[in-house]
Amino acid sequence: MIHALANPTRFLKIARPLTPILFWSGLLLVLAGVWGGLTQTPPDYLQKESVRILYVHVPSAWLGMGGWSSLAIACFAYLVWRHPLASLAARAIAPVGAVFAALCLITGSIWGRPTWGTWWQWDGRLTSMLLLFFVYVAWIALERADRERGGDGRIPALFGIAGTVLLPVIRYSVVWWNTLHQGQSLTLTQSTIDDSMLWPLLLTLPGFSLLFGGLVLMRMRAVLAEQRVEARIRRMAA
């Protein structure tokens, strides 16, 4: 499966029709979820209307972390099998994941002001998520520097794998340490969010995920097209 996809021509054959499907279905779900979350659900008993930010905040946090897991998997695949497409995937994922991590921090801060009474506190959850954002930015800079100097991509790939250390820290920060941030509301089997308020989240969560996939495929195709143009120019110059 991985090896079959490692062929750029075959990859493009699948990615070309898949990109608009992911992108538009994702956007549709996000819009439906946001509409539901802004107009159809009741306000929270304590947080009142500001609770609605969770329909964007939770998917952003999920994709900020999910983005890094997929980046790390791509880095691992590149390191072991040396598929050029794997490093390309990591390169495409990084800025998208960074944007979602930033979105998570920004929406969280906006929510924290009325709820906790502060924009920012150095608690375990908030600090580890901020670190993940910095790690994204550092990876992007490192990968670019490595490429410009003609490196083989091994160092950014190693960094990508090492960065996964942060993911369990973020996930369990609210369990290991006492934090200002509340504990986990959603697990696979149960939720402490009332059903009447939960359903828009079940639309925006897959919605943003599909959108994420669409954006990554778009970026991968753009880089592949760029490489093709460069190769053609080089051939014409020769």
Partner: protein, 144 residues
């Protein structure tokens, strides 16, 4: 062993090493990384007087008093095992009330009380509409 397998093995070994190292580091960090002291922490090993710390717990029901000066409030922060009296002058956040979570920033006094210069309301992980909340018994434990 093929080079590919060698790399796979090295990659997995590196992953295990990173995981182990961070698990050790995190377990060492356990206490230092806590955002606040709980009342039972205070009971077992009290932080130094006049050192800036945070105290977190539930605002005990019936303990909230407005003092005569009009801007100072006094209340008791409690968890299941211990209690600490707290005094705060200023504007409390909207979500601050009896029976809900609070994190107070401030200092312990020589008399054993806590003087806060800032209050943060702590929210728990439960979200529900007002009509359901009215029927629920109020929480008496500090949610994580």
């Amino acid at each position: 062993m093929k080079r590919k397998h060698q790399r796979l093995f090295l990659g997995l070994a590196a992953l295990a090493a990173i995981g182990g190292a961070s698990a050790l580091a995190l377990s060492a960090l356990q206490d230092q990384a806590a955002f606040f002291y709980t009342p039972s922490d205070v009971a077992t090993r009290k932080p130094d007087v006049d050192k800036a710390v945070r105290l977190g717990g539930m605002v005990e029901k019936g303990s909230l008093k407005h003092l005569k000066d009009g801007v100072t409030i006094a209340f008791v922060v409690a968890d299941k095992e211990a209690k600490v009296p707290v005094r705060f002058t200023g504007v409390a956040p909207d979500l601050f009330k009896e029976g809900s979570g609070v994190v107070a920033e401030g200092k312990f006094t020589a008399e054993g009380g806590f003087v806060a210069d800032n209050l943060l309301a702590k929210h728990d992980e439960r979200y529900m509409p007002p009509e359901i909340a009215d029927k629920m018994p109020s929480p008496d434990t500090l949610a994580k």
